[in-house]
């Protein structure tokens, strides 16, 4: 039942977003990945998730904000059953709470799932990509065997800008770049800049 629902939602998301897929790297995403992308629309993770091949999609969990997705029953059902989102509490800022968030993600990775994350932390205007938060670096260091795949989402902010509830159908493009590697001994800041540039470079 949820499988059929997921397929329907994926088809609907592809229709609304007219998404075409561009793989800059010839190698299709194999194995376990962390997809990290720019964030500027509520459609972002749904569209990224919907363009993945079906078997990969079933094993890929978006990371989303708990306060938003647990606001009502419908959203909670969609988040937990359909998308199998990893819901994290973004309210807390203490070190212990941050560690708890990261543990949730590590747990999902250890279960063999892939993740979709938006390292900017919040939706931007769509014109520029904001600085990346350090969670990505942490995950990369903790689980170095997982591929870090940069993804650029093009035009979704025009299809459904911040604060709107219905999408205006347009064409969008999801670009997958070659996986990023941690550099031995590189600093956290340098890695985050490099990761952001990897997404930026996929802009057409």
């Amino acid at each position: 039942m949820t499988g059929i629902l997921a397929a329907c939602i994926a088809a609907l998301a592809r229709l609304a977003s007219g998404a075409s897929v561009r793989c800059v790297d010839d190698r299709p995403c194999r194995g376990q990945c962390i997809f990290f992308a720019n964030h500027c629309s509520h459609l972002d993770f749904v569209v990224l998730w919907s363009v993945l091949p079906k078997d990969l999609r079933a094993r890929t969990r978006p990371v989303a904000a708990k306060d938003y997705w647990e606001a009502d029953r419908l959203r909670r059902y969609a988040a937990t059953r359909v998308f199998r989102a990893v819901l994290i509490d973004r309210q807390g800022g203490s070190l212990g709470q941050l560690r708890a968030q990261m543990d949730q993600l590590i747990e999902a990775l250890d279960a063999g799932d892939s993740l979709i994350i938006f390292p900017e932390g919040t939706r931007g205007s769509g014109l520029e990509i904001g600085p990346f938060k350090s969670g990505l670096d942490y995950l990369a260091r903790q689980r170095p065997n997982v591929d870090l795949v940069p993804v650029h989402l093009h035009n979704l902010y025009r299809i459904m800008p911040k604060g709107e509830f219905l999408p205006v159908p347009q064409l969008s493009c999801v670009s997958f770049g070659p996986p990023l590697r941690l550099q031995e001994g590189g600093s956290k800041a340098a890695f985050l800049v490099r990761a952001r540039e990897a997404v930026e470079s996929l802009k057409q």
Binding site: G18, N155, R158, P161, E164, L166, V168, P169, L171
Partner: protein
């Protein structure tokens, strides 16, 4: 009720189109086996992609046509949807246009096709040029973003006129009341589409084979006088040869075909200028070998309304 004789003509027409495609596919396959250089290979691969896409488009159109009105109206409504989506993607709308665009997609466009379906000519002809024309800038003004206001509003209106209003004239042919041609209008629609598209195809073929002198090099390097004259002459001849499915005499069919092909050329040229302006080669990627939906129907957008009004004025009620 549709009489047997007329139905048979329609079947002949559809069968003829499919027959031409069979021949085209065979020619394409032979050419593919005979190419030597890389550039030839690319041209023939593109040609074959186009022929395959023609198969899909023809079969879909045939099914739509054989289901009478509903299928055709739905098919063109969908075509409008895809075309409008491609167009809006390319133009610089802003967040302030969002709600206006929701009106365009989810109210104006469906209402326009409902008007076609319900055969309400009086409102069909003015709904977008009068009512939507005034509604949209008002909604946009309420949104409050004045940056490049006129440019944005005008662009949205233009998109609506081309992708919805003009395209909706094609299925509106089904609603024309022509004496002695009752319930046969499906063939008139097919006549329009065949003439428009053969004109496109033969302009391409003549241009590829003999094209030397460019008509508007800054707009489209592929449009040549040789392609233009050869394509228009060929399509007009084909249209004339199809007079028996129309309410026209052979001479009238020739003039109508000429009108359709000239308008089609104007459409192709104008849309090329827009693509140049926006810095893209194609409007989209939905139809392999052709580009986007709008790349395929650019000629039809210009030909359909003019053909409709000429037919209505001279042969209508």
């Amino acid at each position: 009720m549709i009489s047997d004789v007329l139905d048979r003509e329609l079947l002949w027409l559809v069968g003829g189109v499919l027959g031409v495609l069979v021949v085209a596919s065979i020619v394409g396959a032979i050419l593919a086996g005979r190419v030597t250089s890389d550039s030839e290979r690319a041209t023939v691969a593109n040609l074959n992609a186009r022929i395959r896409a023609w198969w899909v488009m023809s079969v879909v159109s045939a099914i739509a046509l054989l289901t009478r009105g509903v299928g055709s109206v739905l098919l063109f409504a969908l075509t409008s949807f895809f075309a409008l989506r491609e167009f809006i993607t390319l133009v610089p709308t802003r967040h302030g246009d969002h709600r206006t665009l929701l009106w365009v997609f989810f109210v104006v466009m469906p209402v326009q096709y409902w008007l076609v379906w319900s055969d309400w000519y009086g409102l069909f002809a003015i709904f977008i040029p009068v009512f939507a024309f005034l509604l949209l800038p008002t909604r946009n003004a309420i949104a409050g973003d004045t940056e490049r206001f006129l440019e944005r509003t005008a662009t949205i209106q233009w998109a609506l006129m081309i992708c919805v209003y003009c395209v909706s004239y094609a299925p509106a042919l089904l609603t024309l009341h022509i004496k002695g041609y009752e319930n046969a209008n499906g063939k008139l629609l097919l006549f329009l589409v065949i003439v428009v598209e053969t004109s496109d195809v033969f302009q391409y073929v003549w241009g590829k084979l003999f094209g030397r002198h460019r008509i508007a090099p800054t707009v489209s390097p592929n449009k040549t006088w040789e392609g233009f004259l050869g394509g228009i002459a060929t399509a007009t001849l084909i249209g004339t040869g199809l007079w028996w499915v129309t309410p026209f005499t052979p001479w009238q069919a020739a003039l109508m075909s000429l009108l359709i092909t000239l308008m089609g050329f104007a459409g192709g040229l104008t849309m090329s200028a827009i693509k140049r302006d926006r810095g893209v080669k194609d409007f989209g990627t939905l139809i392999p070998g052709h580009g986007g939906v709008l790349d395929r129907i650019d000629s039809l957008c210009f030909a359909a309304p003019v053909f409709f009004h000429f037919t209505r004025y001279f042969f209508g009620p």
